[in-house]
């Protein structure tokens, strides 16, 4: 086993995870360098979300190790992992998952408030981020009054507001139209680059992977480098029929 390079902020070694008897990850090793945008590609069901959940400490792999800045995530207790997630990691879901009774800026400021920041600085930071994502004028509206793309942008602002070390984005643009998709991705990657935030981006879309510095591909829970993915990502979950 080769020692990982020094500038890896996050790396995983031989992760094995099985969900309900089906192996989801089989021996994955991956390193994420500092301030890079890493795309994790692969069709649906290839283990992208499981890998991201392992890396972000939401899920502990049955075998294998996850290290963040030379600290072992896989041996941490749930409380320590919770604090790590709150302090160092950001997470964006395919669905925005905003708190419906809070306004847009309160949703975006929530990580800072959870952190114990004062009301006024949290509000200021959240408003600045919403402005950067072109939804500053919607800051006082509640999620039910926003369109889906606007909600997803609030979710992006919420993930970026406490300037995490690593941002995990799990199919952040899956439910959006093509135009909204490009806009959300562009703002996300631009903000990450300007603030030196490392991004791990799971996507089944080859177009999304173009925004990344580096890509790794998963197929049935394994890393594939040389094998071409079946009919690329357009055929969602379609098995390769050429081999028959």
């Amino acid at each position: 086993m080769v020692a990982p390079p020094d500038n890896d902020v996050l790396w995983a070694r031989t992760l094995h995870v099985s969900r309900g008897g089906t192996p989801a990850l089989t021996g994955i090793s991956v390193g994420v360098r500092e301030q890079e945008i890493l795309a994790v590609g692969g069709p649906r069901g290839s283990g992208k979300t499981t890998l991201l959940r392992c890396l972000s400490g939401q899920l502990v792999a049955q075998q294998g190790e996850v290290w963040f800045n030379s600290a072992p995530v896989h041996t941490m207790g749930p409380l320590v992992r919770e604090r790590l997630r709150r302090d160092k990691f950001g997470w964006i879901d395919p669905q925005p998952r905003l708190v419906p009774e809070l306004t847009a800026w309160e949703n975006a400021a929530l990580p800072l408030l959870l952190h114990g920041a004062g009301h006024r600085p949290a509000r200021k930071a959240a408003l600045e981020w919403l402005d950067r994502l072109d939804i500053g004028h919607l800051a006082r509206k509640r999620p039910h009054a926003l369109s889906h793309a606007e909600r997803q942008r609030v979710a992006v602002a919420r993930a970026l507001v406490n300037e995490p070390t690593v941002l995990f984005a799990d199919e952040p643009t899956a439910p959006l139209h093509a135009a909204d998709r490009a806009h959300v991705l562009r703002t996300l990657t631009t903000a990450a680059r300007s603030h030196g935030i490392t991004v791990v981006l799971a996507t089944h879309d080859a177009g999304v992977a173009a925004y990344a510095d580096r890509s790794v591909s998963l197929l049935d829970g394994r890393l594939v480098n040389t094998v071409r993915l079946p009919a690329d990502a357009e055929a969602e979950g379609a098995a390769c029929s050429l081999s028959v």
Partner: protein, 395 residues
Amino acid sequence: MLALRLARGAHPLVLLRRLAVAAASAGTGFLLLCALGYALGHPQTAGSSALRLAWCVVPLAATVQFAVAVARTDPATRPRAALFAAGLGPARLMLLSAINTAISCTLGSMLALLFFLHLRGDIRGLPLDGAAAELLGAGRPLPLAAVGTLLLTVPVAGTVAGALALRPRTVKSGRTPALAPESTGPADDEPAPPMPQPAGLPWGVALMAVGLAVETYAARETATGFPLPGRLASSSAAVLGGWAITALGLTLAGPALTYLCGTLLQSARPGAARLLAGRALQEESRRIGRPLGVLCAVAAAGLAALQLYGGAAPRIGPLTVLGGVLVGGCAVLTLATAAVEARQSRADTTTALLQLGAPVSLLRGAAGLRALALLAVFSPLTWLVGTLASAPLSG
């Protein structure tokens, strides 16, 4: 059959809630049967027997309210993806919940009948055989139709009220019905619009004032028209009417006061805990506020009774005690069930917060803040209403 099959696999807490409904139904059924037994034993005093039956309306209302609250929180009857996939829409779910309520209440009624027959001396072989034989009119044949009618009252009322509360209704554009659970289907990802502010405060306060005024006015005359069975001091019909108006006012004001609590809690630069606690309270004000208002009214009535009769150590009959325990217990359990329902409806929010890395202690702290705020507003109100209600009677 499906209702029974789902009930068999249910969580023990859910079964416990249904058992509580059965117990409440048993208590109310027993009170109704006791009124019948009294009427059988004392055919010459028809008015007094009718009065006993009329007093049973209060425990009956409390039981029905509790049964509806339990039916609304029952996980077996909430929209679930698995049941939807099997083809069970809102209408069938309503049917399922009605069957559940009917089973619980009928079980309670049967228990009440057994206990009644046992105390009357018709069933032998256990301690307390025929302990109240002469009081319950032993020796005379029980009229079967009357027993059937009385025992069916609670199951029918509970089932109909539960079905009405859970009936599938069309969602008007942009607004969900105020108290309906998501009866249109499994929750989608669209966030719900905020609940409008409940507008019952002026009406509630006005009704409370009118009720207390009527009571004060009526207390000057010493008419004895509507005595509570069980040797409580005489109370005139006007005093009771005034008290009923006050209770109605409290129930109406409950949601608005809860909303006000939420507004106060999240005002003035809140941190995360106060913000989440206050907004959740605003959102759940209707669900929590109404049973809270009812509990407040019951507690105020208890307080007034305590202030009136507490010193003299009155000889309160066992049936009055049973009725009081039933009403108080049902009010408390209804509020607890409403809190469970509110928690169920906020499960998505809780998941989202936990995924953000919010510590569990913060969520618990927010829940504690909510309870404290409600306690701080409603306990002085209960004390005030109870004292005001008892002041003219004791003076």
